[in-house]
């Protein structure tokens, strides 16, 4: 039996109308993500990574193309997509004045769990993500790494088949970043969760993703396993992803970018 992609898009596009004229944030993106894959969307700032995720999570209506996420058509059945995917935005999404417990329980209830189930799920998620001791703290009192784990717990509330992570480790210290990578790998290994993440950290892409999709100027410009991309574009599987990137996008790393190794 041939496995079907859990996410497939064809010609997915989004044009914004601005006073200065149309902006083609995403021109045409074709993706096929298989169940249980960890896929990294990689590209310079403004490449269209976040816009792509916002479309795939129903936050933003596409202006062109089509997509299916976890068996639901993005345009015809956005409610179905919402039930099956989780999204963790770069800004997170918790109120600083509310306790970890209250946010987790409310999130469960937004996903239509009963009160009893939502409370049980909050405890379960907190235990799994190392937040058990912090349930009664206000979210503002958490460290950067703890906050990020809470954001992810919120996105996992309904055990989604697909988890979208937008720049999950931006602003984290190296130790917290590696913890987070382990967490993401664990989601795939233990629950078969499909993970699509955006990043502009090349080491993160290299260490975490099974497959990379390089986006530039709103188009997919390259894709493949990290080693295959290096061989194809930089001539050797031992080449750095940095060299590979220069070869693909023709662009030097953004000077203003605070990332340790960034494009």
């Amino acid at each position: 039996m041939v496995t079907m992609p859990i996410i497939s898009t064809s010609g997915l596009a989004r044009t914004f109308t601005t006073k200065a004229g149309p902006v083609h944030a995403v021109r045409s993106v074709d993706l096929a993500v298989m169940p249980g894959e960890i896929v990294g969307l990689l590209g310079p700032n403004g490449a269209g990574k976040t816009t792509t995720l916002r479309m795939l999570t129903t936050l933003l209506a596409p202006t062109g193309g089509a997509a299916t996420v976890a068996g639901c058509d993005l345009t015809a059945d956005p409610a179905g997509v919402r039930e099956k995917c989780g999204y963790v935005a770069q800004s997170g999404g918790v109120d600083p004045h509310i306790s970890v417990r209250e946010e987790l329980v409310t999130q469960g209830r937004l996903y239509r769990l009963s009160k009893v189930d939502a409370i049980a799920r909050a405890d379960e998620l907190a235990a799994h993500l190392g937040l058990g001791e912090l349930l009664d703290r206000r979210t503002a009192a958490l460290s950067g790494g703890q906050r990020r784990r809470l954001d992810i717990a919120m996105g996992l509330t309904h055990r989604p088949a697909v988890l979208f992570l937008d720049e999950p480790t931006t602003g984290l210290d190296p130790g917290s970043r590696e913890d987070l990578w382990d967490l993401v790998r664990g989601l795939r290994d233990d629950f078969g969760t499909t993970v699509v993440l955006t990043t502009h950290y090349l080491d993160e892409a290299d260490a975490l993703a099974d497959r990379l999709v390089v986006i530039d100027g709103g188009l997919v410009v390259a894709e493949g396993a990290p080693a295959a991309l290096k061989t194809e574009h930089a001539g050797s599987p031992d080449a750095s992803l940095h060299e590979t990137f220069l070869a693909i996008t023709g662009r030097a790393p953004a000077a203003a970018d605070p990332a340790p190794v960034a494009v």
């Binding site: 209506a61 600083p96 209250e102």
Partner: protein
């Protein structure tokens, strides 16, 4: 589902309000100042009304409370946009209408509570009005809050920065207050001003509440007031829900 979702969102924001005493009482100050320092000036003036001056002023102050309070509620959602709370809720299956209704019903409850405090203060100042009329007044405060808060959230989601949001709201609320005759009946003024004021929805609401405060319920003013308030609420909630559904760019 809509009721489940709405009560969930409503509960979240009621708890948020209860955490902040400042939020509960802020907003009532301006109408109170008018009540204490402006109200007494009117007691001996011929206002062309069946009741006394308090029955003319207090309905106006109630709607002023709703007008200024509800119009600024959008600030809260600008903060919630920046913390990502709005988007986080929008990717859940929660009803889009509930995302709006839960918030605006909290606002309606808050401003109706402040309206009760204002009426109690007015009683001490000398207001005498029939109880059913006073309750009708609270109903109008609630409806007007639902309308204005919906539009305020919609605008805030569009402009996205407090620097843009504040001036826009200020430039709308001041003329709305002056033109709708919240302070003094427009019938006292020249015909052109009276005509102009009929172009603001608040004019119909304040006329209706003033009738209610003198115990006249089956009047043309009341009919128009109820019709305008309901139509305005329906329009505003429709606009607001659209924005929660489509908040894109």
């Amino acid at each position: 589902m809509l009721i489940h979702d709405t009560s969930l969102i409503f509960g979240r924001y009621v708890r948020q309000t209860l955490r902040s005493r400042f939020q509960i009482f802020f907003g009532i100050l301006m109408p109170l100042l008018y009540l204490f320092f402006f109200g007494p000036l009117l007691t001996g003036l011929p206002l062309g009304s069946t009741g006394d001056s308090w029955q003319v002023l207090v309905p106006g102050l109630l709607l002023q409370l709703a007008l200024f309070g509800a119009s600024f509620t959008g600030f809260a959602i600008i903060i919630e946009q920046s913390t990502g709370v709005v988007e986080r809720m929008r990717v859940t299956p929660v009803s889009r209408l509930a995302l709006l209704l839960g918030r605006v019903l909290r606002d309606a409850l808050l401003f109706m509570f402040q309206a009760v405090l204002l009426v109690l203060a007015a009683l001490a100042m000398g207001l005498r009005a029939p109880l059913p009329g006073v309750l009708v007044g609270f109903g109008f405060v609630g409806l007007l809050t639902v309308s204005l808060a919906s539009l305020s959230y919609a605008l805030a989601m569009k402009v996205r920065t407090p620097q843009e949001f504040g001036p826009v709201i200020n430039s709308l609320t001041m003329p709305a207050m002056l033109l709708s005759g919240l302070m003094l009946p427009m019938t006292l003024g020249p015909a052109w001003l009276d005509v102009l004021s009929h172009f603001t929805p608040f004019r119909y609401l304040v006329d209706a509440v003033r009738d209610a405060y003198v115990g006249s319920y089956a009047t043309a003013h009341m009919l128009y007031g109820v019709a305008v308030a309901l139509a305005f609420a329906l329009l505003a909630v429709t606009v607001g829900t659209r924005v929660f559904r489509r908040a894109g760019a």
